[in-house]
């Protein structure tokens, strides 16, 4: 993916750039707001990562300017102000996702990849498949190796999200935000229980597991190698 990073802190941008490049992405860096905005408007990118606090032009103004130009570019906001209020402001300004600093790199990578592969509106596929696991989103039906699997509504949404992001790491926070639609800090392993329930339904009776735990990061649903 081609990723544009607008970040003034050299240490942070080095860390992010290196990590993203290692993950196989092409990263362009802008170290100030005006340059970043012109690069975002003029060049083709798949995802924009922008720091909330920038000298001369702050992140929110860049986002607002881009949205005024009807740019569909997916935007991830980075902020040292890890406050929920700021998240609301950032999302209202037109950002697609919000990540407070400091963050684990896996979290950033997972979110960037999720944003980059997000299909445009209207093109949402309603039939998903990973290996022999199939989901009909409209009919609310799931089957694996032609055996029907009954899921609770929340389990269905959980699996749908995992399938839409198959092959990508999905963090616990991403699941809470997208499947439960709440932004909060779970104090315990409350999410893991949901995932293991789902795993019991889709993996237990089959040879090859599809749903994997990625240590220190989250989960991944992927085709067996």
């Amino acid at each position: 993916m081609r990723i544009l990073l607008i970040e003034d802190d050299p240490e942070a941008s080095r860390y992010i750039t290196r990590g993203l490049r290692e993950a196989g992405h092409v990263v362009t860096l802008a170290d100030n707001g005006p340059d970043g905005l012109s690069m975002a408007s003029d060049e083709e990118h798949d995802v924009l990562i922008v720091d909330r606090m920038l000298p001369s032009m702050d992140g929110l103004s860049i986002i607002e300017a881009l949205r005024r130009q009807n740019s569909p570019l997916p935007i991830l906001i980075l902020s040292a102000l890890g406050d929920l209020e700021d998240r609301v402001l950032g999302l209202r300004a037109g950002g697609d996702d919000y990540l407070p600093k400091p963050f684990a790199f896996e979290e950033l990578l997972a979110r960037v990849e999720a944003l980059g592969r997000r299909p445009g509106p209207g093109s949402l596929t309603t039939e998903l498949a990973v290996a022999d696991l199939e989901m009909d989103v409209l009919a609310r039906k799931v089957q694996r190796a032609n055996q029907s699997i009954t899921l609770q509504p929340r389990e269905f949404r959980l699996l749908e999200y995992l399938m839409r992001h198959s092959g990508q790491v999905v963090t616990r926070t991403m699941l809470l935000e997208n499947v439960w639609d709440y932004h909060f800090d779970p104090q315990t392993n409350v999410l893991d229980v949901h995932v293991s329930r789902l795993r019991a339904k889709i993996d237990r009776d089959f040879d090859k597991p599809l749903l994997h735990t990625v240590r220190g990061a989250g989960y991944m649903l992927r085709e067996p190698e």
């Binding site: 929920l84 709440y182 800090d185 104090q187 220190g216």
Partner: protein
Amino acid sequence: MNRSNFLASSTFRLALLYVILFTVSVLLIFSFIYWSSVRYMATQSDSAIQTEIQTLAERYENRGVPGLRRLILDRITRQQPTGSSLYLLSDPLGRPIVGNISRWPQVTAEDGWLNFNLDTSDRDDPDLHPARARRFQLSGGFQLLVGQDIHELKLAQRRIITALSWGVILTLFLGLAGGFFISRTMLTRLEIINETSQRIIAGDMKQRIPVSPRQDEFDRLSGNLNRMLDQIQELMDGIRQVSDNIAHDLKTPLFRLRQKLEAMNVEAGSSAGHTQVLQDALAEADRLLNLFNALLRIARLESESSKTAMTMLSLSELADDVAELYEPLAEEKQQSLSVETPQSISLFADRDMLFQALANLLDNAVKYTPKGGSIRLSLSSQEHSVIIRVCDNGPGVAVDQREKVFHRFYRTDTSRSTPGNGLGLSLVKAVVRLHDGRVSLLDNDPGLCVELNLPNTPER
């Protein structure tokens, strides 16, 4: 400021007391004025009678009865048609010789003075005319009476009483009106201070009491209170800054540490042995980072009234969502988790923060309730508030610890063995405060009920 409050106020009572004291003083002074003027008038009249008796007695000595008779007649004629002097001269047998009263009054003398009422049958005046006279024994058995019709005197006295009474009433009225006005003025100024304090208690630390340029004692009080508030604000800012700084400053190196561990973890790859240690170290770093995040979050919630994320939401739906999230965890511990929402309840609230608070409460309930226990999340709507209760039949919290569990990092002795950071309830309290609500711990016999009482008023 309503009427009953006003009448109960100390300034009004003080003013009332002052008015009463003042009125009593005025009453005493007026009584003295009345008493001394009446006495003066009476003495004047009495000494006039004495002088007249002396004059008439001298005339009798010099000119005898005819001379005295002429003088008396002269006096009577001169004060016609109306006069207040009374004369009567009678012979030794008591028969009147001359005078303007027809006969001797039938009263006994006190100290030589006769007090009687004049015979008014020959006058048009229907009033009773009191009179005071003195009897004088002339040589030769003749008797002389000199007196005065003191009707006018009594009238004058009555007029003085009326005037003085009006004076007292006026004093009372003016005193009350003045007291009312003064205490009202004082109360208004006190009320300004009170209202400001209430706004500050409600969380608006930026409020200050207005100070007028007069620099009177109220202004000095207000000025001092304002300075005190400034100092408190400064201290609070200081504490917040320190805790924020600590959290921030520790977070950054901790985060670098985590990055290095992460890098090592990647490099170590599959060379087993180290990986487990590295994983544990990473998990520990994450725990610490989460702790700092929670701490900073509470600090922010407490220090600012950040209400930008408040929206109208369905509380019933939110409760269902939280319960649904925790249901598998409870099921793992064979606990039953039930939700009771009698009707659909809407609330103006911060969706994510409220979810966080309820999640913390359910988390605690699942954590501390033993296997097979039951947990109930119930909502009820009252006129101006909603009540959210999370009840369990676990070990509960001892009464003397119920305040302390809301303190940061506080953990009861029994809870130390379970994982947690001692910030869950602090965060709940901060969230409840953000919604201007109250949180309290109640007995569930056995177990614990945490009750959140959130005001349900849309415009806040």
